[in-house]
Symmetry: C3
């Protein structure tokens, strides 16, 4: 298992980690298989979406804030209940195919770390299984 | 890595790809392991749900449209911001267990391609890892 | 493939299955790889979130009920359309890394079975792939 460090700079934010993943795949000589990109935090998540236009990420966050507001009479008293809920909606990991030593993403896709309770210094675990 | 082609016929639609996957598993002699069913598009997704009653798929789409409307003052100006957001909520891939050369699904489960910005000619990547 | 049995005791409920998974990893001598925790039911799901404070689970369920109400003029007439929709939003499986014979979870994380149409006797399929 390898890991990335992802510093975040505001409460809710989507950070592109595609280049860091590509570098990791190359540096470790991973050739054919599946890589699991895993978020070990309960107030954050991993998603795959469009990398070209950052407005897409802004729209995702805006909609998540409408669906799961920061304040909503939550039972959890730490002030980050919304972040936990967002984490379960988006998901704690994503799987990406590796072929010929490269991440196989669609033309417009990137891999993103979703921060819902920052700013913090975060980690992403990355596990490659060949096959 | 193998792939399926999935033609879609309307803007938002859920297409059953279970039979195509079963055929792929059989034709490739995949016996024991995990198959990753991956959507390389950022305005579509993969889900697993009930295959028997198509009303379930209609209800999923109807609810997604209520939660993430087509028009909502989005920043992304291509007219498909809702499709990107739905993609991140549903997820870009699903994993299915393979045993004795067969997809291991629950009694009522099927695997579905979710189109959120069609109609288009789509692809689904399928990667088998034995184990 | 192995499986867990998960009895649920009410209509909508989140059950911690982390200890059962840890025991399974240990009893089977799984050492390095990925474990897929898979829900074969179409009105239930698997999620990873905070295990410490049960209020987090209550908040997740409360918000899911707001977003996807029990009654909403659904087409599916079995009275559990909401459960199917919640299942696709949360997801039918989660992947967890195994290292040195142990589940690699973040400090606060646990693995949970999400019941959306109980009470029932449920199963969770667990597949380990080494790598």
């Amino acid at each position: 298992m390898k890991f990335l460090t992802v510093p975040t700079s505001t409460r809710i934010e989507i950070v592109d980690i595609t280049d860091k993943l590509r570098e990791m795949v190359k540096n470790n000589g991973w050739s054919e298989g599946i890589v699991t990109v895993y978020c070990p935090h309960t107030t954050a998540a991993i998603t795959i979406n469009e990398a070209a236009d950052p407005d897409v990420r802004a729209d995702i966050l805006e909609t998540l804030n409408k669906l799961v507001p920061y304040n909503d009479n939550y039972a959890h008293i730490e002030g980050n209940a919304d972040a936990h809920i967002k984490s379960s909606l988006v998901g704690s990991s994503q799987q990406v195919i590796i072929e010929h030593g490269r991440l196989v993403l669609g033309t417009w896709q990137g891999v993103f770390f979703c921060e819902f309770d920052g700013p913090r210094q975060r980690k992403v675990y990355v596990k490659f299984v060949s096959g």
